[in-house]
């Protein structure tokens, strides 16, 4: 487990009474939680428990019914001009299960286009930064490859670099390895471990319990739209408090 020193006492992400429904079906039934600066939180739970919905509300890819989400001091779900929301979003890195690289752009263009078009970073600076990020995810030689020419693991690493290019203080991962062939999971997790070691605040929905054990500071267990356990991984894996968590963990082992 890595220990981090919070640079600031206020939490990076603060969820208060977050509720959300699809029609009559309530997906999130009042979530109250915090992610400290530099903390790595892994969210796990059975499918349909609302964990993907939860992480998508943090950068407002999903709207919420009630409650509030504050990220890095900004109230994400308050009414605001579109331009302001765009700026907030650019400060929250998001990595998708299905990568969602832009297939018409090469790897390096994928990384550079948003700093240039959203933040107005000068071209040379954006490409220098992109090159640096590609090195960091171990894909310097693939700068000019198109997404269609990359393996799933490589695409996801480019997607992580793309999110990092906006220099966000926090990164959200929505099942980043679920769409990958097993032999490619490791390379993506390695990049994520590196990020955690550098002190990045991370919120990560994943089924990779090994990653949770090694990297997470805390594990949130979600079931039926509520966080029913929140504990350091050692505690969560060895002494789950609820029967639902116990069943979930025993199902994973079998």
């Amino acid at each position: 487990m890595n220990t981090t020193v919070p640079s600031n006492n206020s939490p990076m992400i603060q969820l208060k009474g977050v509720r959300k429904s699809y029609g009559l079906y309530e997906v999130l039934k009042g979530i109250d939680a915090e992610v400290a600066r530099g903390e790595v939180v892994v969210i796990c739970g059975p499918s349909g428990s609302g964990k993907s919905t939860l992480i998508r509300t943090v950068n407002r890819l999903e709207e919420i019914g009630s409650g509030s989400i504050v990220c890095d001091g900004n109230n994400i779900h308050q009414p605001m001009p579109a331009r302001e929301l765009n700026l907030l979003r650019s400060r929250i890195g998001f990595v998708f299960q299905s990568f969602n690289l832009f297939p018409h752009l090469s790897a390096i263009d994928n990384i550079a286009i948003s700093p240039i078009r959203v933040k107005g970073v000068p071209r040379e600076a954006a490409y220098a930064k992109a090159t640096q990020l590609l090195e960091r995810v171990g894909l310097a030689d693939k700068a000019h490859a198109y997404p269609g020419q990359l393996s799933g693991g490589q695409q996801q690493r480019v997607a992580i670099a793309r999110a990092l290019a906006m220099e966000p203080p926090v990164m959200l991962f929505d099942e980043p390895t679920s769409a990958l062939d097993p032999e490619m999971v490791g390379e993506v997790l390695a990049v994520m471990k590196g990020l955690a070691a550098d002190g990045m605040t991370m919120m990560c929905v994943t089924h990779e319990m090994g990653f949770a054990r090694d990297v997470a500071d805390r594990v949130w267990f979600i079931d039926q739209g509520q966080i029913i356990e929140s504990a350091p991984p050692d505690e969560f894996f060895s002494r789950p408090q609820t029967t639902r968590a116990q069943r979930f963990l025993s199902d994973l082992r079998h």
């Binding site: 400060r91 998708f96 969602n100 018409h104």
Partner: protein
């Protein structure tokens, strides 16, 4: 029979090519091609605007465009041309050449068709691209401009060429309001000769065939190129893509 055809071409090639020009308006094949190129050139930006309006959540943008699309899909082009012939002079208040009336009608008609093609291209990309762009902080229009449209428009280039071919074929309907195009020239020749209608209309069909066939080939080759560039991820045709294809590939 063949010697008749050769003789007609020898005697009337200039009329078929440019109509009465310079003693009258530009006509014949030149007018047909000019009409088609101008129609598609104006219809293209119109179609992007219509597609974006149709995808918009605002009912004020979405509703009228949806109505327009269904209108053009449900009413024969011939009726629209008659409307144009009646309405365009009312709007402009002047004696409008048939060429211009036809151009306006074609821009509206093909603009609406093309907007469905563009919209189909955008929808086919799926939510992921828009979400990823928005998550990176792009505005809606920024995401459209830099992420969605470059892909969608590139993917639908073959369909755009198909719409162009359809436009060339549609220009023949200008005949009913006396647009001096290739078909008009051929019927003039037929009226002069009187005795060789088969030969005249055979030539007419052959000229259209050569032009439209060549362009259709370009569309097919472009499609293959695009599929190859997608690095072997060419999807199988789905019921949805077939529906889209049927929309652009209309008899006319």
């Amino acid at each position: 029979m063949i010697s008749d055809i050769v003789a007609i071409i020898r005697d009337y090639w200039l009329l078929l090519l440019i109509g009465q020009y310079p003693n009258g308006p530009l006509g014949g094949l030149a007018a047909t091609l000019m009409l088609s190129v101008l129609a598609i050139a104006f219809a293209f930006p119109v179609s992007i605007a219509l597609a974006l309006a149709r995808l918009s959540k605002s009912p004020f943008l979405n509703w009228p465009v949806t109505a327009l699309v269904y209108f053009t899909r449900g009413v024969p082009l011939l009726m629209l041309i008659l409307w144009g012939y009646f309405l365009v002079p009312l709007v402009t208040g002047a004696n409008v050449p048939a060429f211009l009336t036809m151009l306006v009608t074609l821009v509206v008609y093909q603009g609406a068709f093309l907007s469905e093609v563009v919209r189909g291209g955008i929808v086919a990309l799926g939510h992921g691209q828009m979400e990823a762009a928005r998550a990176l902080g792009h505005s809606y229009l920024g995401a459209m401009r830099y992420v969605i449209l470059p892909q969608a428009l590139y993917n639908v280039i073959p369909s755009i060429i198909s719409v162009f071919v359809a436009t060339i074929k549609d220009t023949t309907l200008g005949y009913v309001i006396n647009v001096p195009d290739l078909t008009f020239a051929a019927s003039q020749i037929n009226n002069q000769l009187l005795t060789q209608p088969f030969q005249v209309f055979f030539i007419l069909a052959a000229v259209y065939y050569v032009i439209c066939w060549s362009l259709s080939r370009v569309a097919v080759l472009t499609e293959r190129r695009i599929t190859r560039r997608r690095a072997g991820t060419a999807p199988q045709p789905t019921a949805k893509s077939l529906k889209l294809a049927a929309l652009t590939d209309q008899p006319s």
